[in-house]
Amino acid sequence: MAAPLTLLLIVAVTIRAVLFRSSWAELISERVEVVSPLNAWKRVVEGLALLDLGVSPYSGDVFHETPFMIYLFHFVVDYAEIVFMVTDGITAVALYLSIQTYNKNVFRKQKYALESDRYPADCLELLRSPKEMFYIPLKVAMFYLLNPFTILSCVAKSTCGLNNAIIALFILCTLKGSALLSGILLALATYQSIYPLTLFAPALLFFLQRLYIPVNLRRSSFWFFTLQYAFIYVGSLVVITGLSFFLLGSWDFIPSVYGFIFSVPDLTPNIGLFWYFFAEMFEHFRLFFICVFQINVFFYTIPLSIKLKEHPVFLIFMQIAIISIFKSYPTVGDVALYMAFLPAWSHLYRFLRNIFLVSCVLLACSALFPVLWHLWIYAGSANSNFYYAITLLFNFGQVKSLNLISHFT
């Protein structure tokens, strides 16, 4: 499968290169649906300029990237376009390899279950053949690389692409069974934006399943492994945070990055749910609603982990989707990451009721975002309510599609 994957990578790189050189690159990097205050390229350049002047990049409340990001771009800022294209390639290859591993595991389990006659007769049509499963990793890579959302995100040089790459590598290491690398990459992903913290639970469940440790709170083996994994994770996080302190010599980055993500001070419109709500809010209630909205992101981990403990990879997918819907500054790059996983469960599509309605809603909303932005900001005939209505509808469509997909289990 190397040849089709290489061809796909070449096509994807060509599309991105063509768009980088056209006049649309500037237009796309200004779109609020594609960049947010957390990952806009303009702000990275601003932070680098401040760093060159010897001032802390976090002064002035413009720059909200982590110190690792500044130092990475300090060295490669001249090749930024190539970096982002390579990042997309890495994400696609990581997803390809991880879905390949996942399919192998699933097929092996299916074979054992078939041999021990554990499938009732009417389930036989759901069984997957190797021929079907052969093309799924390529489809996943294609869904990620050729998704218009990913292409827009790459052309805008939004650092969301880098975050996606780290999460994809984390998924690859988890599926390959390397707890150490998985812990380190998860710590890196959490360090970038806090929300991947919720992926700790599905990764843990996957390792427990893989090592045949039963998930029983009374067993010592369970606690032993959990503590090991938690130690790797927390240890790496502490090390990475400490390194960041030594890189820039101050703790400025903690309020600027994590304080910014949690307290949502910047209310620029985006495709998320926070901005309009907090624009209308009285100061009095702001803390309460911040807590409510942020708990909303983390809360679904508990019931989902309990329900889906037999299907940790599906749980990873659900968690990524929930993060990208409910996080404080979502962009279309986040949406693209979880959409890439959909072909992995393509044999279950016939059970998706209402998928037509939901896909039409998502398609129409994606087309209406720029139209209503134009009517609001440029023509002045609409106002923020129109744009938020489309945001709400888009998020409703996403939640509904998650709802439908959760029927798979």
Binding site: C360, A367, A379, S381
Partner: protein, 614 residues
């Protein structure tokens, strides 16, 4: 969503929709058309009213009296050959006149090379000067401004308006109640000059115009009025609202104009038609419907029908007032027009914030009655729902055999992606060719054929459009034609959803364009299948294609303005409409031509492909 998640009720609902699909679609289409035509019926419209408090309750007593002096000044500005013809605008005369009236005068020179010669206005390399004078508000901070403009261009003798502007400037200079700066702008080469001035004022450069930077500015512009008078006495004043891309100013501006016309006893018209009182007769209804249809046609073509149209893009509410001299015995003199303008500008002076209280989206069957977006959008919605119902029907049919199939059958999209993707890509490439090639290939066409550049551009566009009709026969040879029955259904599903989203987005920005395209495109696209009699349906599809829609609109427009044309004249008008559309896009950024070439035409080509799917 209990109705949709309970399998039995779902099956019943989808079964109902599938069985009754065609009748529901026909009913929706007829309902949409009837709803739209019913909008002009007076009981269904609302009376206009002034929404903005700041403009409603103040008493204004107009005292402008120098109308006659303005007219004698106009004669000084005469003869036309010196004014705006061969020697261009008399810039020095204007500068001196404005300076002597106490305004701060500045000029701006601009130049623009059109992509091909404009045969209607006979220009190719345009070079001109705008002259504007700023009347500073005596005792207010200079943060806001109003603009009164009188276009001065060759072939459009607007001397009386320029002179009236100067007389008004002199009168305004002596008043103390001005809270905003007033800019008196005399622009050359009508829309091109206005575009240059606006771009200079707002420091943008969206159309590739070359202009000298403005030396004097006056704060953010709240509203603008454009005045066009063609003779010393007029019988009625016509209000022109339609701007670029079908954008309309706030309805309060039209209400303001109407209120002052009532107060001063001036006859006011819209679309050149007077209001009638007999709404319950057939003639009364037809009159209102004709006025509304004229507004719809003017809005749909996306060009700015007066100099005010370009102001709207910068969120400046603007309207054009045009004086008409026709055969009535009651004539209005220049003093009354001056008083009208004085009253309007005084009311606009009282604004605390930009006009936003009244409607931005409306249709006017007459000046005193309007139809708001909430009333006219359902007409479009009924047409769009037909596309969605058809798409749902196709989805159900596509999904049904898959459920009954034995395992091993791959889902329809897998081999079908290539069969669907090829027509889509080829159609869009043809659309890109239609957009780019006419202007870029004009030199080559002029070399090889004995036509002028404008004709070359228009005829190339028509040639590419017609060449696209031959595509299906070539595309089919490239494809294997595997899974043909499923293939065309998937293509039709994609094309229907694409058309629905496209028409929806168009209707939001420019309702008239979206509605007119929906009226002609929805019936054919909803009913097209490869199993129909090909010759008949090919003819019907071509007759309802976007190009022919433009042709019909040209003929209907000529009928409505009571200047019907013969077929050959209509054809020449059609060609000039196409060239104007391409020029508007290049000069002012009108979106109609790119929309039709890059999106609507490829969509239509996809349906054309379906018709010839073998």
């Amino acid at each position: 969503m209990g109705l949709l998640s309970d399998p039995n009720r779902r099956k019943a609902l989808t079964g109902l929709l599938t069985r009754l699909n065609t009748p529901i679609c026909i009913v929706c289409y007829l309902a949409g058309i009837v709803w739209f035509m019913g909008l002009a019926f007076e009981p269904f419209t609302l009376r206009t009213y002034m929404s903005e408090n700041a403009m409603g309750s103040t008493m204004v007593e107009e005292r402008f009296s120098s109308g006659e002096r303005a007219l004698s000044l106009a004669k000084e500005f005469d003869p036309p050959s010196a004014c705006c013809g061969l020697n261009g605008m008399p810039v020095e005369w204007l500068v001196k006149a404005m300076q002597s009236r106490g305004l701060e005068v500045f000029t701006q020179s601009f130049s623009r090379k059109l992509p091909f010669p404009d045969e209607n206005k006979e220009r190719y390399m345009v070079r001109g000067t705008n002259v504007y004078g700023i009347l500073r508000a005596p005792r207010a901070p200079r943060t806001e401004a109003l603009v009164i403009t009188a276009p001065c261009s060759p072939g459009n003798t607007n001397n009386q308006a320029v002179a009236l502007l100067l007389a008004l400037a002199q009168y305004f200079r002596n008043q103390i109640y001005w809270a905003k700066d007033i800019i008196f702008l005399v622009n050359e080469h009508d829309l091109i000059g206005t575009q240059a001035w606006l771009e200079g004022y707002h420091h943008t450069n969206i159309t590739g115009m070359e202009y000298s930077p403005l030396q004097g500015r006056a704060g953010s512009i709240q509203a603008a009025l454009s005045l066009e008078l063609s003779s010393d006495v007029i019988t009625s004043l016509d209000l022109v609202l339609e701007g670029l891309n079908g954008q309309l100013p706030n309805l309060d501006l039209a209400n303001l104009f109407y209120a002052f016309c009532q107060k001063l006893g001036v006859l006011c018209t819209i679309q050149g038609k007077l209001q009638r009182n007999d709404w319950d007769t057939a003639e009364g209804y037809t009159h209102a419907a004709q006025t509304m249809m004229l507004m719809v046609l003017k809005q749909a073509c996306g060009r700015s029908w007066g100099d005010h149209g370009l102001f709207l893009r910068y969120h400046i509410e603007a309207a054009s007032v045009r004086g008409i001299n026709s055969f009535r015995h009651y004539k209005t003199d220049a003093t009354t027009i001056g008083r009208l303008l004085e009253g309007m500008v005084r009311k606009l002076n009282n604004l605390l914030e930009r006009l936003h209280q009244s409607y931005f989206f409306y249709l006017l069957p007459s000046l005193s009655r309007f139809v708001s977006i909430g009333y006219y959008m359902p007409a479009f919605g009924l047409l769009a729902v037909i596309l969605l119902l058809r798409a749902l029907d196709l989805w159900v049919h596509l999904g049904a055999p898959a459920l009954a199939a034995v395992d091993g059958v791959t889902e329809p999209s897998s081999p079908g992606v290539l069969t669907v993707l090829t027509p889509v890509v080829i159609s869009h490439l043809t659309g890109v060719a239609l957009y780019l090639l006419p202007v870029h290939l004009q030199e080559m066409a002029v070399e090889h054929f004995p036509v002028s550049e404008t004709e070359a551009v228009v005829l190339t566009a028509i040639a590419i459009y017609t060449a696209g009709l031959a595509l299906p026969h070539n595309t089919q040879r490239l494809l294997s034609g595997e899974g043909t029955e499923q293939g065309w259904k998937v293509l039709k599903l994609t094309a229907l959803l694409y058309l629905a989203v496209l028409l929806g987005c168009t209707a939001l920005i420019n309702f008239s364009l979206g509605f007119i395209l929906a009226v002609t495109l929805v019936p054919i696209t909803a009913s097209i299948t490869p199993h129909m009699p090909k010759a008949l349906y090919a003819v019907v599809m071509v007759l309802l294609s976007p190009a022919f829609t433009i042709l019909y609109c040209v003929f209907i427009y000529q009928e409505l303005i009571e200047a019907p044309v013969s077929v050959s004249e209509g054809w020449m008008l059609f060609l000039s409409v196409i060239s104007q559309g391409i020029l508007d896009h290049a000069l002012y950024g009108s979106l109609v031509y790119p929309l039709l070439a890059l999106f609507i035409y490829p969509c239509w080509l996809m349906f054309w492909n379906i018709l010839f799917w073998n």
